[in-house]
């Protein structure tokens, strides 16, 4: 029962995070499962009352990095543009990448890995700067600078498109 509650609480956001990191729903689902598996295997190393969310996303981020470090798995929305429509899993996936969504997806995926992670963790997963700093094992100032650079770049792309 505790497991079910844990999964229900975090499944949706975690899937969203890993989808934004990888661009591939099937891969994101696999990584979600792997993240939870690692959480369960490492549960004895988790010290309460340390916050759970940063620990969870730290595991998820490492898994995503392992995947997109491999050249053949590097995420790009442009790959999806080349894919035939019938290869997409569901109509809602086509809608997810229409218009403005495509603009920001392209912009974020073009960011360096650390900036992309900081932007997604801050604005989509709503982790605090301190939590992101703890996850990335860097000072809060470094997180702020990564966010600042990432947002500037994002803003440039968005304004270009507009």
């Amino acid at each position: 029962m505790a497991l079910a509650r844990l999964v229900e609480r975090h499944h949706s956001l975690l899937l969203g995070f890993l989808y934004r990191m990888t661009g591939d729903r099937a891969l994101a689902e696999d990584l979600v499962q792997e993240t939870f598996v690692r959480v369960l295997r490492g549960i004895r190393q988790y010290d309460y009352p340390r916050p759970f969310k940063p620990w969870l996303y730290s595991i998820a981020t490492h898994l995503a990095r392992d995947h997109y470090k491999r050249a053949e798995m590097r995420y790009t929305v442009l790959m999806l543009e080349d894919a035939a429509e019938e290869e997409m899993d569901a109509p809602e996936e086509r809608l997810l990448l229409d218009g403005a969504a495509r603009q920001v997806a392209v912009a974020i995926t073009q960011l360096p890995d650390h900036q992309r992670e900081a932007v997604v963790l801050r604005y989509y997963q709503e982790l605090s700067l301190a939590e992101i700093a703890e996850m990335m094992q860097v000072p809060v100032g470094t997180v702020k600078s990564r966010l600042s650079l990432g947002l500037k770049r994002l803003r440039e792309v968005v304004v270009e498109q507009e």
């Binding site: 999964v7 934004r20 369960l40």
Partner: protein
């Protein structure tokens, strides 16, 4: 708050110099992601069941709620109580080793009930405002919390007394373990329960401790003094040391404890009604 508003607020926190974060917030909000269905979440939970860590028997025992309650209460019980009990028991053992007491009570048998009764009386202390705040904030009832603390304090004193008795039985040839234990056990149980009950009735732990120790002190003194007066003989509470009275003392202790806990429960309900 919409996603766009939420994102705009976050951007304004992080990007205070940026004049218009609205465009960026709007764009960020536009990027939706797939949502898992309830069925997918259920399937994921089922797949993860095999990964659940197996709990050993010790883990399961450790998670049994009475043990968890006792472990939590250890931190709340005043440290002075543990130290004082240990000190008194050590004193009892040392003085027993160093004295000849004939067929009378050993110093350990005199001091063991004192330590237990004092410790138990101090558990019900109305001055511990922080403790009561914690109790009010938790779902556990006052009765349950007090019973947990009683178990801890009495168990600690019982353990110390047993350990002291075993040491004495080993070191002193004229001391037998079982008779020694019986000499302090019933008085310890009775005096602890009496101290607790008196604390509850009077609302003052010091009063509870003082009266119960006066009873015991009077008994010890008058027991060792030749008594001709029937009044003094009665006041010496001969039953406290009478071998045949031990079962009755333990029974009386259980009754006093039950009544004390019942009274505490009634006070809690009255406070709850007033709130």
């Amino acid at each position: 708050m919409t996603d766009e508003e939420r994102l705009k607020r976050l951007l304004q926190d992080d990007w205070p110099d940026e004049e218009d974060t609205g465009i960026t917030a709007r764009q960020l909000a536009a990027w939706r992601v797939p949502q898992p269905t309830a069925a997918e979440t259920t399937q994921l939970v089922e797949r993860l069941q095999t990964e659940l860590p197996r709990r050993s028997l010790w883990d399961r025992i450790g998670e049994w709620w009475p043990l968890l309650l006792l472990r939590a209460q250890i931190r709340i019980v005043r440290r002075e109580i543990w130290a004082a009990s240990a000190l008194v028991m050590v004193l009892g053992v040392i003085t027993t080793l160093g004295t000849e007491f004939g067929s009378g009570l050993t110093p350990l048998a005199i001091l063991a009930p004192v330590a237990a009764a004092a410790g138990v009386a101090l558990l019900y202390d109305g001055d511990l405002a922080l403790v009561f705040e914690l109790e009010d904030a938790t779902p556990a009832s006052l009765r349950r919390l007090l019973l947990a603390r009683l178990t801890l304090i009495f168990g600690f004193n019982l353990g110390l007394s047993l350990a002291g008795s075993m040491i004495l039985a080993v070191l002193k040839a004229d001391i037998l373990l079982w008779p020694l234990v019986l000499s302090w056990f019933a008085p310890m149980v009775f005096l602890s329960a009496l101290a607790f009950w008196l604390s509850v009735v009077s609302g003052d732990s010091v009063a509870g401790m003082v009266f119960s120790l006066l009873f015991w002190g009077g008994h010890v003194v008058l027991r060792t003094t030749p008594i001709s007066s029937p009044l003094l003989h009665a006041l010496s509470l001969p039953g406290l040391g009478d071998v045949n009275a031990r079962p009755m003392l333990v029974g009386a202790a259980v009754l006093l404890l039950a009544v004390g806990l019942w009274m505490v429960g009634r006070m809690e309900r009255r406070i709850g009604d007033a709130g």
